[in-house]
Amino acid sequence: MGVLGFMNGRKKLTPGELAKERLKVVLVHDRIKINPELLELIRGDLLAVVSRRLEIDEQNVEITLAREDRWDRLHADVPIKRQKVAFEWDPPAYTPAANALLGSKIRVEIESDNEA
């Protein structure tokens, strides 16, 4: 199980697993000096960039550092908001992705009874 799962406390870990997960986090912080404030800044920057293109659920974004396979990794778990596609399908060739290239946000379509 990954670091994110451990952070969320999804499963009760054995003491051995807990030691490993704690080590993975502490070793990254030992090696690269990223304090919580800096991590918060990175989080803000990332959210700004991603939310230019995607509607994201900012409250539930998880940014963590961890060691995996000898590499220090920055994990960003960014949930995308689920809502109706809002843009007009003017030119028939438009897809959400093409629309995003032109500067509009992609919104993920789901079936919704609200407007029925």
């Binding site: 051995g16 490993k20 080590l23 070793l27």
Partner: protein, 275 residues
């Protein structure tokens, strides 16, 4: 001569550097290699006592470096094996009594005389540690499967890298198979996943280590000892022999064997987190 200089280090103290040095040195000498074990823990010497040679010290490493005696005069021959020697540390000096240049020159001198030069490093990351690795071709890190020693081992890996040495290899010491089975201790795979370096040895916790140290006799002489066999295997891997890494695979316990006989077979085995 193709001599190799290996430094045994750990960062954290008390994880088994000196025991590892004494046992690897003895095991290599049993394979008819000409070996010198060097205690570089100046001011806190112990390798002499682990090998049972504490009463025979006249000169030490600092005397050699300062030119107070010739190298041959300071080397103590282990009477049990024809090819094992100790170069003891000074006890009444401190870690700054020698510098890196002197240590490197000493290693060069020892290369001419021996197939293997094993240097027992002091704990810590200060001058004593730097002196211990400066002349080494290979670094062996000893760690235990617990947070503090693994964390320190990672620091050492970074410092060894920064010193321009090849990637160190690992001896995972003092594993307790019963605790691992219960999930109360990190297993071999966990530690390797975190540290990401190659393994040369897995040594189970063994009371016979303390018994051996009490007698001044490395545990590799003790045929009953699992740790002793593990150190012999590690020495073979250092020599380049293929030895499967299965030191903590234990024979099933009496209870488990009875269960199997009675047909409640794999239930207990399944509970093992990872082997």
């Amino acid at each position: 001569m193709d001599s190799r200089v290996l430094t045994i280090t750990s960062g954290k103290g008390g994880v088994g550097k000196t025991t590892t040095t004494a046992n690897l040195g003895t095991a290599l000498a049993m394979q008819s290699k000409k070996v010198v074990v060097v205690d570089s823990d100046i001011g806190l010497r112990n390798l002499d006592a682990v090998l049972g040679l504490e009463n025979r010290i006249v000169y030490d490493l600092v005397d050699v470096v300062e030119g107070q005696c010739r190298l041959r005069q300071a080397l103590i021959k282990d009477k049990r094996l024809p090819d094992l020697y100790l170069l003891p540390a000074a006890q009444t000096r401190d870690k700054n009594a020698i510098n890196s240049v002197q240590m490197e020159q000493l290693c060069q001198q020892l290369r001419h005389e021996f197939d293997f030069v094993l240097i027992d490093s002091p704990a810590g990351i200060e001058q004593g540690f730097r002196n211990a690795i400066v002349g080494a071709d290979e670094i062996i890190i000893v760690t235990n499967p617990e947070m503090a020693s693994v964390r320190d081992a990672d620091r050492i890996i970074g410092l060894v890298e920064a010193a321009g040495k090849p990637e160190p290899r690992l001896i995972l010491n003092r594993l307790r198979p019963e605790m691992i089975r219960r999930g109360d201790m990190m297993d071999v795979a966990d530690v390797l996943e975190v540290l990401g370096i190659d393994l040369v040895g897995i040594v189970p916790e063994d009371e016979l280590i303390i018994v051996g140290t009490n007698k001044g006799e490395p545990v590799v002489y003790e045929k009953r000892s699992k740790a002793g066999r593990a150190f012999i295997n590690a020495a073979h891997r250092i020599l380049g022999d293929e030895v499967p890494l299965d030191e903590v695979e234990e024979a099933p316990s009496l209870v488990e064997r009875l269960r199997r006989l009675m047909g409640f077979g794999p239930a207990l085995a399944e509970k093992r987190v990872r082997s």
